[in-house]
């Protein structure tokens, strides 16, 4: 079953076409990556799918609900971890989680249970009382993802989740993202080849707002005629393949 069906999604800013007639489907439970260089349209696509930006053309359906006509229903089933760390710096880790529980209207019992579960899942116990603003980049990203998971989203958008992190923090976060597989449909944007290759069931490569290819890593390498995923990406983006 399709969790996301995108039909001719387009976003124009005056003369610039940020996303151009994007059409693709993402299966339920899939970990799907949008890959591309800066300005490819990945973040704009995520913003449209999460109802933050209104498309100028086309539509997308999340579990059958239109992002244009039924934004409230879409918002109730999604969560977003934005590109920049989106935490309240003056609040502790626990208070940040409580904030998100509160804005989703959880009862006290559900709030406590959810915080305990996510603290365990994301290994946040050692920093639970620390102020979010005082945490390292890696811990802030973990907290940011925990905040996104609180509402038990059916679809989770992770926009450049490991941007700016060191190798160890990135590796930890990959393990954490892998552990989420099957719990929700995950759409991840990245411009790290190895990240997309290591985590994704399927990958869509975008350039200048257009979809160049959408396939498994092996499928993309086959099309590009190379065993190296980074080479495959470069060939496809430069127009040497497909």
């Amino acid at each position: 079953m399709n969790a996301i069906r995108i039909e001719g999604l387009t976003k124009r800013y005056r003369d610039v076409v940020a996303v151009d007639e994007l059409s693709l489907c993402i299966e339920e439970g899939e970990l799907f990556s949008l890959l591309g260089v800066n300005g490819a349209g990945k973040t704009t696509t995520i913003k449209m799918l999460s109802c933050l930006t209104r498309p100028t053309g086309g539509d997308a359906f999340l579990n059958g609900k239109s992002i244009c006509k039924d934004a409230a229903a879409v918002k109730s089933m999604i969560a977003v971890s934005p590109q920049e760390t989106a935490v309240a710096p003056g609040l502790s880790v626990r208070e940040n989680l409580e904030l998100i529980c509160g804005v989703h209207g959880f009862t006290k019992e559900k709030k406590n249970a959810k915080i305990a579960e996510l603290t365990e899942l994301l290994g946040l116990k050692s920093v639970i009382k620390k102020k979010a603003g005082k945490l390292s980049g890696g811990w802030q990203r973990r907290l940011s993802i925990a905040m996104a998971l609180i509402s038990e989203p059916k679809i989770l958008f992770l926009d450049e989740p490991t941007l700016g992190l060191d190798v160890l923090a990135r590796s930890d976060l990959w393990d954490m993202i892998r552990s989420l597989k099957g719990k929700a449909t995950i759409v991840l944007t990245t411009h790290y080849m190895e990240e997309a290759e290591a985590l994704s069931d399927r990958i869509a490569i975008m350039k200048d707002g257009r979809l160049l290819i959408c396939d498994t890593t092996d499928g993309i390498k086959d099309v590009a005629g190379t065993d190296n995923f980074e080479q495959a990406f470069i060939r496809i983006v430069k127009g040497a393949a497909i």
């Binding site: 999460s50 109802c51 933050l52 930006t53 409230a72 918002k75 109730s76 999604i78 969560a79 977003v80 971890s81 934005p82 590109q83 920049e84 760390t85 989106a86 935490v87 309240a88 710096p89 003056g90 609040l91 208070e95 409580e98 904030l99 998100i100 529980c101 509160g102 804005v103 989703h104 209207g105 940011s144 905040m147 996104a148 509402s151």
Partner: protein
């Protein structure tokens, strides 16, 4: 419930900043003590405690503008708002969530100023209670200005515009530090076209128990509050849409 969770968070962010506590609660107190000390040595009618305190309580509210503008501008800059826009919070929740937590802070600031004034010799009357109640519509005006600035400025710009320009404008045009009658002319006309002096005159009248003198000042305060709030809502919703 949803709005309350957001409002609580905003209150915590504001109150946990020691600079906010100093400027919001400590600075007006320092001004009352300092000007009362000057008054004790060189008596000036303007700085008599029953004239000075209502002025300081209004001037102190300019820091509420700074608080609300800073918290919104920082949220806009940090992507936190973007995250919250994807939650079930409605535009009304956002606007109330930024506005309501600052009102108790404004009232607390006013109460602290009056406690200090009583210690310094202000006669205890029921007028003090009324003055605290009448500070609420004035605080709406200043909070709305903060919502307005926070919706269009970055947190650095907020520091300059709200922290320096607005506090000075609010001070010069309020008649707290010098008598506008003595300056007269265009300056006085300009000052009376803004709400600050009207807010001070209204508070002075309420404290003195001269309720007839509350008019027309209260209309200026309410009019400006409503206009600033309406404009703030429009600008906030516009930036929300832009996100």
């Amino acid at each position: 419930m949803k709005m309350r969770a957001f409002a609580n968070r905003n209150a915590k962010e504001i109150l946990r900043d020691p600079l906010n506590l100093f400027f919001g609660l400590g600075f007006p107190l320092v001004l009352i003590l300092l000007l009362s000390a000057i008054q004790a040595n060189i008596p000036v009618a303007l700085f008599e405690i029953q004239h000075l305190t209502p002025g300081i309580t209004v001037f102190g509210l300019s820091f509420m503008t700074l608080f609300s503008a800073t918290v919104i501008a920082k949220d806009r800059g940090s992507s936190l708002l973007q995250r919250l826009y994807t939650t079930p919070l409605t535009p009304t929740d956002f606007i109330l969530g930024y506005t309501l937590p600052i009102i108790p802070i404004a009232i607390a600031q006013c109460v602290i100023c009056y406690i200090a004034a009583i210690i310094l010799g202000l006669k205890i009357t029921v007028g003090i209670l009324y003055a605290i109640v009448f500070i609420i519509p004035v605080s709406f005006l200043y909070i709305a200005l903060g919502l307005l600035c926070g919706s269009v400025l970055t947190d650095k710009q907020v520091g300059g515009i709200c922290g320096a320009l607005l506090t000075n404008l609010s001070a010069w045009l309020s008649g707290v530090w010098f008598d506008l009658e003595l300056v007269g002319g265009a300056f006085k006309k300009i000052a009376y076209a803004f709400p600050f002096v009207h807010a001070v005159n209204m508070e002075r009248a309420v404290l003195a128990g001269d309720f007839a003198d509350v008019f027309p000042h209260i209309w200026w305060v309410l009019g400006y509050s409503a206009a600033a709030f309406a404009l703030a809502v429009i600008l906030f919703l516009r930036q929300m849409k832009k996100q």
